[in-house]
Symmetry: C2
Amino acid sequence: MSILIKKVQLNNSICDIFIEGNTIKKIGVGLDLLADKVIDGSKKAAVPGMTNGHTHAAMTLMRGYADDMPLMPWLEKKIWPLEAKITNDDVYWGAKLACLEMIKSGTTLMVDMYHRFPFTAKAVDEMGIRGMLTHAGFDFNQRELSEIYKSDIEQFFNSMPSYSDRIKFAMGPHAIYSVSTQLLKWIRDFASNNHLRIQTHLSETHYEVENAKKVFGMRPVEYLKSIGFLGPDVSFAHGIYLSDDEIKILADYGCQVVHNPASNMKLSSGAKFRYADLKNAGVPISIGTDGTSSGNNLDMYEAMKLASLLGKVAWNDPTIWKAEDTFAIATEVAETLTGFKTGKIEEGFLADVCLVDLNRPEMTPNFNLISNLVYSASGNVVDTVICDGKVLMENRYVPGEEEIIEKAGKAAFNLVNR
Amino acid sequence: MSILIKKVQLNNSICDIFIEGNTIKKIGVGLDLLADKVIDGSKKAAVPGMTNGHTHAAMTLMRGYADDMPLMPWLEKKIWPLEAKITNDDVYWGAKLACLEMIKSGTTLMVDMYHRFPFTAKAVDEMGIRGMLTHAGFDFNQRELSEIYKSDIEQFFNSMPSYSDRIKFAMGPHAIYSVSTQLLKWIRDFASNNHLRIQTHLSETHYEVENAKKVFGMRPVEYLKSIGFLGPDVSFAHGIYLSDDEIKILADYGCQVVHNPASNMKLSSGAKFRYADLKNAGVPISIGTDGTSSGNNLDMYEAMKLASLLGKVAWNDPTIWKAEDTFAIATEVAETLTGFKTGKIEEGFLADVCLVDLNRPEMTPNFNLISNLVYSASGNVVDTVICDGKVLMENRYVPGEEEIIEKAGKAAFNLVNR
C-alpha cells in the first residue's frame, strides 16, 4: 500500500509526500511516483499526528458523570464506585470511543494507564492508532493485590505478540501513595529485564508531596531515586510540585514529565507547572489530556492551547511556551517518550500524518500555521488521519463511528445503572 | 417565515420548538403546527446562541500575526502599526470573517469595539447575527481627536435607522488611560440622552491600576464613579484588578463585567478574575473572547471552558464556576448585557437557537448536556444556527463561506504587505 499526498503545505512550503508501507518514504516537489492512493493536499497542511502523553482512555464512559467537585470526594464517591463495577466490555467500548475521539482530533499515539489491559489493547489495535499501553498498578501495601498484579503483568506481557507493532506494552504503577516500595522495585526490575518503559503519576497535588515527606522522609523524586526507580525510560504524569533538587535529579537520570493542563486546572491541582525550569534543565516534556473524567475531552489541540496559556499567566510571562515549542512537545517528543519513531514528517519516520483543512475561518489568515494550530484551532481542523500508512479518517469520517458512539453511550449508561 | 424543530433535546427532555417571524412562539411535545420549514431535531440538542461579551471583530485579520510577546511591544511594534494602515474594506472583510467564525461556533450575539463602525455594522447586518457595536473612542487628551470622535459618533448614531434591528449602537470609549475625562463625560451624556449602553476596557493590568492611582489619585472604578460615569448600562471588559471597595461600587451602580480568559492568559494580564466575589456581590458577569489578535479565536465554547478551568485553578477551588453557571453567563446574560431579549429558549424570546449534534464522540455519553457543552465541546459541535428566526447555518455550512475566507485572507495579507 502506498499513498501520495499532492501539493500540501508542509512547514512553509508546498510539496508532495510519498508513503510506502508504514513509512514516509519521500518528500519533495512534483514527485513523479505511482501510488495506490493519491490525496489532493491543496488548501491543506500536513502535520504529524499528536502524541497524547497521558490518558486513561476507557474513562470516556465517565465523561460528564461528575464535575465541579474536590479531588477526594470526586474519587471516593463518584469515580471509584463506578470503576468497581466496570466490565471488560465497558473498557473495550470506552477505549474504542477514546480512539475515535483521538482520531477525529488528530491524535495517532497515546500513552494509556487503565485497568483490564487486554480490552484497551484490543480497541487500540482495531482502531489503527498507536498506543504505549500500561496496566494500572495498585497494591495499597497488600501482598495479595501485589501478587495478583505481578501475575497479570506477566500474562499481559506474554500476550504481546498477538497484537500489532502499533501496540507497545509498558509498566504503569499508579503512584507512590498507592503502590508499595516492594512492588515498585519489582516493576522497575520487570521493566529493565524486558526493555519496557514506565509511566506513573507523580506530584500531582501538594498533599501528595507532604505525605511522601511524612511517610518516606523524602520528597517523591528523592524517594524514587532512593529505591533505584529512575531512568530515561520513566515518564511522570503531572509533576507540578517539583523542587529545584528534584528537577536536577530528573535531569540527571533522563526522566521525562507529562503536563496535563486541563486536569490540573479542573481539579485545582496546581497552575505552576515548572515548564521553563524543566526545559532549561533538559528534562523532556510532553503534554497529555489525562482521562475524560477529569479533562473531559481528548483534544490535544486544546491541550496545547491550555498548556501554553496557563504557563504564560501562571508565571506572568507571555513569552514562555512559544507556539513552536508547544507544538514540538505535542508531536516531536513521541520518540523520546514512547520509542515509536514518529512525531515528525520526515523521510524515514513512521507514516503518522494528519491533513489539516486550511479553508476554515479559524485558520484564516494563514500568517503562521503553527500559531493557528496551537492558539486558534481545535482538533476539528483535522480532515484526514493516516496512521502507520493507513487512512483512518478522510473528510472527517471514520468508518464505523456511528456504532462506536452508540455502543459506548449504552455501555456508559449501563455502567451507571448497574 | 416559520420553523418547526421536531423532537429535539431541550434541557433534559425531548420536545418541539416552533419559531414564527423572529420569535420563539411555542415549545411543547408533539406540536401540531404548520411551518414553512421543518427541521429534524433527533440526536440534537437545542441551545441558545452564545453571547460573546467582548470582542474586536475585524482583528481576525491579525490572527497569528504576532504572538508570545509582552503587551506593550506587541501593541506598539505589531498591532498599532498595522491598525494605522487598515482600510474600510479591511474592516468589512475582517468583520465578515469574524461573523462567519462566530456562526460556525454557535455565537449569535457579540459586543464589538473597533474602528470604522459602519464597516463592521454592514458586515454583521449582512451575516445575520446580532451585534451591540461600538466605535472605539480614543483621544489621548488631544482636543482635536476628541472633536473628530464626537462628530463620528453623531454621524454613526444618526445612520442607525439604515440597519436592521439586529444591530444596536453603543458607546465604546477605549479605556480610562486613552480617553480624557472630558470625552468620557461627553460619552456618558450622549449615552444617557440617547439610551445607549457603554462598554469600555477596565483594570486589565496591574499597571493600569497603579497608573490611575498616580494620575487620578484613585483606583479606576473610584475615578469613574467620581466623574458620574457608572450605571447599569455600563459593562467593563476584563476587570481583573478590582478591590473589595470597587466591587461594592460596581454592585451599587449595577455595572457589569465581561471576563476574557483567553486574552488575559495569553497576555499574562492576570489569572485571578474575582468571579465568586463579583457574583456574590450581585454584579452581572459575562464572558468574551476578546479580539483574535490576543485570544486567537472566537469560540465561546472554548471561552467557557477556559473561564471555568482558570477560575478553579487560580482560586484553588474546583467547586467554583460550576458548569451550569458558566453556561448561563455565556447565554442568559444576553438581555442584561445588551438589551436584546435573547439567550434563553423560552416562548417569547428572540429566535436565536442553535442545534448541537449529539452524535459525536466528545458529546458521548450524554449524562449531563451542560457539562459536555462547557467542558468537552468546542463550537464545532454546533450543526445548525438560527438567528432572528432565519437559518444561518445548516449541516455546518454557511452560504458564501468560501468567498469570505478567500477575501478576508487576501485582505489580511495585503494589509501586512501594504
